[in-house]
């Protein structure tokens, strides 16, 4: 099926930005990908938040990440108003897994374990959002 083997893209709506997550999205606008890190327990986490989901400390920071990792899993929704698209999780080299869309890849080009890297995709009226493509 040739149409299914076109590289996937997907228009992404602007994200909900809260006062808590605004620093993440401000960095995204500069092309920087941040993840949560706890100063108390030292562990990384996703999604970004003020409270550490591991040890419940409020002593947390956002740290810059290269946004590199491997595909943990994925699924290609075959029909949508804008064509097929892939959702999945990337396990970052820092440890946490991130829900995302995979772009610039064909459905057959996706595989669990594939090395991927973050990039930012513009949204209409909001900050750019992280998506992942083959590294």
């Amino acid at each position: 099926m040739s149409e299914a083997q076109e590289k996937m893209t997907r228009p992404i709506p602007p994200p909900a930005v809260s006062i808590e997550t605004k620093p993440f999205w401000d960095a995204a606008a500069e092309g920087r990908f941040l993840i949560g890190r706890c100063n108390a327990c030292g562990k990384a986490y996703w999604y970004p938040r003020a409270i550490c989901p591991h040890c419940f400390s409020g002593d947390t920071v956002l740290e810059e990440s290269p946004g590199e990792g491997v595909v943990y899993t994925y699924s290609v929704l075959r029909r949508s108003p804008t064509g097929p698209y892939a959702i999945g999780y990337v396990t970052l080299n820092e440890g946490p897994s991130v829900l995302t869309n995979f772009v610039d890849v064909t459905p057959d080009g996706l595989a669990i374990g594939l090395k991927v890297k973050v990039r930012f995709q513009p949204t209409e009226g909001g900050p750019p959002v992280p998506v992942f493509a083959p590294a």
Partner: protein
Amino acid sequence: MSIKGKAYVMGAFEHPLRDAPDTSTAQLHAECAQGALADAGLSHLDIDGYFCAGDAPGFGGMSMVDYMGLRNVRHLDSTETGGSSYIVHVGHAAQAIAAGKCSVALITLAGRPRHGGNRPGGAGRGPAAGGGLSDGAPEAGFENIYGGSTHNTYGMCAMRHMYEYGTTSEQLAWIKVAASHHAQWNPHAFLKDVVTVEQVVNSRMISDPLHLLDCCVVTDGGGALIVTSPEVARTLHRPKVRVIGAGEAPKAPLGGLDLDLTHSGAVWSGPRAFEEAGVTPSDIKYASIYDSFTITVLMQLEDLGFCAKGQGGRFVSDGNLISGVGKLPFNTDGGGLCNNHPTNRGGITKVIEAVRQLRGEAHPKVQVADCDLAIAHGTGGSLGTRHAAATVILEREG
């Protein structure tokens, strides 16, 4: 039986802010929890019961359990009665503690009406806060934008299960085949035609690796249940179906380390229910298992202990779930895959068919002989992100 003297309020905290321009509603909830825990001298790891009302952003208590990293919760209550909710919660917490369902209950309230915060009772996507900011479910900005649906988030689970355990589409198809064998005898079933493994795997792909016939039906409708005391039950002229065990458990990414989408919260809710009931999976004569998708059934059967993790594909094959054919008759009404999935919530129909089986009132073609012990189990939310699992064990009395 009374709650008198069965529970204690050992931590209390009032947030010092009266104007919170720089703190999200989720963060306010968490800071209140931190304050109450510090007051009590307890850790977030001690919390095994979580109570919240409509002011908590997200889906029931699941978003806040995930946000706060509450990994030991075994009792959830999101009763919403407006401003009295939290007093209701104290009473409910005392009942849960008296029944042994939890031992450390957390109750939180927080909101930001001065900053356009989320309105209690909404779906977590409240009005925009000032400055173009929102204040809904804490995960929303990082998840909702990616077009997650039930199909593709459960597809992600199936994809990983196949990768780790070699599960095949043909094995998943057997679950639909079994449901269709049962649905043919249900005059109300939405889909009554018996299907084959070939028909399932040759139906069009919806979201890899799930085909059209791996998916449940979309139906209107509903259901209701009456649960009574033993005293009332004795006065009624219906077969007695006794509740002998129940368990529940949320599952969430909790910061995303060690993500494992091949199991559900049933790994916790199931053992709790079986332990309370004093029975084991091998004692069960009939199983109602939530079947939003075929993969949902397979994962839950493994998690509940009907077979080992990774062996679900073999377990469901060759008609093992068909009444009169296999060892574990399941969803004899046709389930969500063929019969009914009212308003996309399959939990109540799971209990209803288990009651029919225990009463001996299922269709004669699917009635399990001498059915005296049944399980009804489901998950709500998404196995691919955050969900809550619930298990009940039911027994026919007399």
